[in-house]
C-alpha cells in the first residue's frame, strides 16, 4: 500500500496529489509518469509526474477530475492508502542545452511541465514559461515557475490574466515578448498540444508534446496507447510519452481517446451517493 501524503484541490477540478513512493523517487526523471489504482476494484490510471522529493520519498502529480476513476482519487485524503503506485514509466524528456526554450502548460500539464522546465533551466537554457487556461482562476504554480523562468507569461481565454485568447495567438505573443525559441514543449490537454503544434509548424520551431492516451499496464504490454507518429505506430508508454508534435496523427489520436467516453462516467452514477443521482 502507498500512503497519501496530501491531496488537495488547487484550482477547480485540478488536484495536487502527493504519495509516499520512495522506490519511484530513486529513479524518476522529468517527463516520466506513474500508474496507480485508487482501490482494489479501480482502473490503472496513468498520471504525469509533476514533482518529487527524494529525501521525503514522495512523488507529486496534478490530475484533472474527469471520470469515475479520477473521482475516486479526488475523494482520497492525507493518510489514506492506495494499492498500486508503479513507476517511473515512459522515456524521460529530452534535456539538453537547446538555447531558448518555451515551456507551455495547460490544465494538469502546468504541473507536469514543471520538472521539465526546471531541468532545462539547470541545463543552462533560457526558459520561458507560458501558462494557459480558460480563466485566471485555473492557473497555478506561478511561484514555482518564476525562479526557473526568465519570464512567466499567462494566456487566458477570458483575458482575466495576461494575454486574452487562444494558443493560436502564440506567434503574436512571441513577437510581442521578443522570444525566439529554439524549442517549444507543450504539456496539457490534447487540444492545446494539437493547436500549438499547428501554429509552431508554420514558425518552424521544433515542438515536443507529452501524449496522454488511454493506458492499462504502461509497460508496452497491451498496446492500447498506440498512436501514429511520422506514419509509424508507436506505443506512448514505452516509445514516448514525448513525441514531435508535428509528426503526430492528431485526428486518429483524438478518436482513440474517445473510445471509453461513455464508460468513463458510468461509475459516477453508481457511486451510491445521493448527489450523483
Amino acid at each position: 500500500m502507498y500512503r497519501i501524503v496530501e491531496r488537495r484541490m488547487i484550482v477547480p477540478n485540478l488536484h495536487e496529489f502527493t504519495v509516499e513512493a520512495p522506490q519511484v523517487t530513486m529513479a524518476v526523471r522529468p517527463g516520466n509518469f506513474v500508474i496507480l489504482r485508487a482501490d482494489e476494484t479501480g482502473e490503472r490510471v496513468p498520471l504525469s509526474v509533476a514533482d518529487w522529493d527524494p529525501e521525503a520519498g514522495t512523488v507529486t502529480s496534478v490530475f484533472l477530475q474527469v471520470g469515475g476513476s479520477t473521482a475516486k482519487l479526488a475523494r482520497l485524503k492525507a493518510g489514506d492508502s492506495i494499492p498500486t503506485y508503479a513507476g517511473p514509466l515512459g522515456k524521460e524528456a529530452e534535456i539538453s542545452n537547446f538555447g531558448t526554450v518555451l515551456c507551455i502548460g495547460g490544465c494538469y500539464g502546468i504541473g507536469s511541465i514543471y520538472p521539465v522546465a526546471r531541468a532545462l533551466h539547470e541545463a543552462g537554457n533560457t526558459v520561458y514559461t507560458l501558462l494557459e487556461g480558460r480563466s485566471r482562476y485555473l492557473l497555478y504554480w506561478q511561484e514555482k515557475f518564476r525562479p526557473i523562468s526568465t519570464r512567466v507569461i499567462e494566456l487566458t481565454r477570458d483575458g482575466s490574466a495576461g494575454y486574452k485568447g487562444h494558443i493560436s495567438r502564440l506567434p503574436e505573443i512571441l513577437t510581442l515578448e521578443k522570444i525566439k525559441p529554439d524549442r517549444i514543449i507543450v504539456n496539457g490537454c490534447t487540444f492545446l498540444m494539437m493547436r500549438t503544434s499547428g501554429v509552431t509548424r508554420e514558425l518552424g520551431v521544433k515542438t515536443i508534446v507529452n501524449m496522454n492516451p488511454i493506458m492499462i499496464d504502461g509497460t508496452g504490454m497491451c498496446g492500447v496507447c498506440r498512436l501514429t507518429v511520422a506514419g509509424k505506430t508507436k506505443f506512448a508508454c514505452v516509445d514516448g510519452p514525448d513525441f514531435d508534435g508535428h509528426e503526430v496523427d492528431w485526428e486518429e489520436f483524438l478518436k482513440r481517446r474517445e473510445t471509453y467516453n461513455v464508460e468513463e462516467v458510468q461509475p459516477l452514477r453508481r457511486s451510491g451517493c445521493a448527489s450523483h443521482y
Binding site: 529513479a27 508503479a86 492499462i216 499496464d217 509497460t219 504490454m221 498496446g223 482513440r256
Partner: protein, 464 residues
C-alpha cells in the same frame, strides 16, 4: 485374479455444458471426481522404463504419483509432483500434455494415453481442498541473494527451486498482481485466478519475497540489482504484442489480444462497472490468429455477450497451433472458424470505429520453413466481413524495457534475450534468463523447464 483388461479410452473430463458455460466465466473443465481419478489412474502400466518422465520438461516422476493415487495416498502423490513442480494445479490445467508426457506414454501405442494432466490437476485440487498444504524441506539459509524479474511461470519456478535450497529470493513484478501471463493472459474459465493466487501463496510460504508494482528496467535497472544480489534471473515474458501491420489497425474497436485479455482477466472488465476497467461488449467479433491466445480471446468475446465470434486464420484446421482441446471447446461453444482467410484491411466509420474487415481467401501451397504448407492468396477473392471488434492474436515478442536498459545483454533479432539453452546464462555475468523472454511466446511448462535449468546453474555457480 486375472488382470482387468485395459480400458482403451481416457476417462472424459466432466465439463460445463456449452450452452451454459458461454454465459459465465467459471471454469469449463470441472475436474475428475474421486472415482474417475481412480479409474483413470488404474490404466497406468507402471512401466519399468517410463517414457512419460522424459517427456515432461520438468521431469516429474509420473508413475510414482499415479501409484500413490492407486493406493489412495493423495498426499504422497502431490508430494511427488511438488518435488519437481511448484505449479501443479496450473500445469494440470494448461500444459499441452498431448505434446509432452502423454505423447510418449506407452499406453498410447495401442490406446489413448493415460490422462496425466487431469490426474495432476486432481491431486493439486485435492490438496487445496484438504487445506493441509504439504511443504518440502527447506534448506538452511545460505546468505545468498537472488533477484527474479517477473512472477510468471519461469520466475515462480526459479524462486521456489532456489528458496528450497536456502537462497534469499525476491521476485519483482511490474503489475499489481503476481502470476504474469497466468494472471493477465489466460482467462478465468480456463485457469481460475484463485488457483494462481494459491500457487503464488505457496511460493511465498517457502520464504520468497514478492515486490509488486516494480518495473525492472525503470524502477531499478539490472545494473543496480547487480550490486545488491548475487544472481539475477530474467523471466519477464513475451509481453510486446504484434499487430498485422495492415491499414486501419488503429481504429477504435481493434485490440491486441493482450489488451483484450488483460482488461478481462487482470482488470476484471467482465465485472464492469463493479470493477472500473471497461470492456467493449461487441456483437460481431473477429479474432486474428490460431493459437491458444486466439481461442482464449474468441471464447472471452462469446462470454461477453457477442452474437457472433469468428476466428480468422490464414491456414487450415490441421495447422492451428492451439491445443486441440481448446479448439474443440471453442467449436462446441459456437465460435465460427474462417480458415484460409487473411485480413488485409480494417475499415471504419467517420467516428473512427471499426465496421468492416476486408479479407482475402487463401489456398495451401508448398511447405514453408516451419514445415507447414504456406498459405497463398487466391486472386480476386476479396470479401468484406461486418464486425464491431477485432482482436489481433498473432503473437508477442519480449518486452524491450530490460534489454533497452541493460548494457551488454545480448539480444536477438526479435528482441529476445540470448541465453544458453542448457544453463540459461546470458551474456552478462551473474544474469540468467528463461521462458518466453528467451524463446518468444511458448508454453507455461517450457518456461518452467528452462527456469529449472537456470536454477540449477545459478546454484552451481554460486556454490563454487
Amino acid at each position: 485374479m486375472p488382470a482387468k483388461p485395459i480400458d482403451p479410452k481416457k476417462r472424459p473430463m466432466p465439463k460445463q455444458e456449452p450452452f451454459e458455460r458461454i454465459r459465465n466465466f467459471d471454469e469449463v473443465a470441472l475436474g475428475y471426481t474421486l472415482d474417475l481419478a481412480h479409474e483413470e489412474a488404474s490404466r497406468c502400466l507402471a512401466c519399468k522404463k517410463p517414457r512419460c518422465v522424459e517427456g515432461c520438461p520438468v521431469g516429474i516422476d509420473i508413475p510414482a504419483f499415479i501409484q500413490c493415487m492407486l493406493e489412495a495416498d493423495f498426499s504422497g502423490g502431490i508430494k511427488k509432483i511438488k518435488e519437481k513442480n511448484a505449479l501443479a494445479a496450473v500445469c494440470g490445467r494448461v500444459c499441452p500434455q498431448e505434446e509432452q508426457c502423454e505423447k510418449v506414454c506407452v499406453l498410447g501405442n495401442k490406446h489413448e494415453p493415460i490422462a496425466i494432466g487431469r490426474l495432476e490437476r486432481f491431486l493439486a485440487d485435492w490438496e487445496a481442498a484438504s487445506g493441509a498444504i504439504e511443504k518440502p524441506d527447506i534448506g538452511p539459509p545460505n546468505g545468498r541473494r537472488v533477484a527474479i524479474v517477473g512472477s510468471g511461470p519461469a520466475g515462480i519456478t526459479v524462486a521456489s527451486d532456489l528458496a528450497l535450497l536456502g537462497y534469499d529470493v525476491t521476485i519483482f513484478e511490474a503489475l499489481h498482481e503476481a502470476g504474469g501471463v497466468l494472471t493477465y493472459g489466460i482467462p478465468e474459465f480456463r485457469l481460475p485466478k484463485a488457483v494462481v493466487r494459491r500457487e503464488v501463496e505457496y511460493v511465498k510460504s517457502l520464504g520468497v519475497k514478492l515486490h509488486l508494482d516494480f518495473i525492472v528496467g525503470k524502477t531499478r535497472t539490472v545494473d543496480a540489482f547487480q550490486k545488491e544480489y548475487d544472481a539475477i534471473f530474467i523471466g519477464a515474458g513475451a509481453g510486446l504484442p504484434w499487430f498485422m501491420e495492415i491499414p486501419g489497425e488503429n481504429l477504435n474497436g481493434v485490440f491486441s489480444a493482450n489488451e483484450y485479455l488483460t482488461r478481462c482477466n487482470l482488470m476484471k472488465g467482465f465485472l464492469f462497472p463493479a470493477y472500473n476497467t471497461p470492456l467493449k461488449r461487441a456483437s460481431h467479433v473477429a479474432v486474428f490468429g490460431g493459437g491458444n491466445v486466439a481461442m482464449d480471446a474468441a471464447r472471452t468475446a462469446l462470454r461477453l455477450g457477442a452474437d457472433e465470434v469468428h476466428i480468422v486464420y490464414r491456414r487450415s484446421r490441421s495447422e492451428l497451433p492451439a491445443r486441440l482441446e481448446e479448439v474443440e471447446n471453442a467449436e462446441e461453444e459456437g465460435v465460427i472458424f474462417d480458415y484460409l482467410t487473411l485480413p488485409t484491411k480494417l475499415i471504419g466509420n467517420e467516428r473512427g470505429w471499426l465496421t468492416e474487415i476486408e479479407c482475402l481467401r487463401m489456398e495451401l501451397g508448398e511447405p514453408d520453413e516451419s514445415g507447414r504448407r504456406r498459405p497463398v492468396p487466391v486472386k480476386g477473392s476479396e470479401f468484406l466481413m461486418k464486425v464491431d471488434a477485432a482482436v489481433c492474436a498473432i503473437g508477442n515478442s519480449p518486452n524491450p524495457l530490460i534489454a533497452m536498459t541493460t548494457p551488454g545483454l545480448s539480444v536477438g533479432k526479435k528482441g529476445n534475450v540470448v541465453a544458453d539453452e542448457e544453463t540459461g546464462q546470458t551474456s552478462r555475468e551473474r544474469v540468467w534468463a528463461g521462458g518466453d523472454v528467451v524463446t518468444g511466446a511458448a508454453t507455461v511448462i517450457s518456461a518452467m523447464g528452462a527456469a529449472r535449468k537456470a536454477a540449477r546453474s545459478i546454484h552451481e555457480t554460486l556454490s563454487k
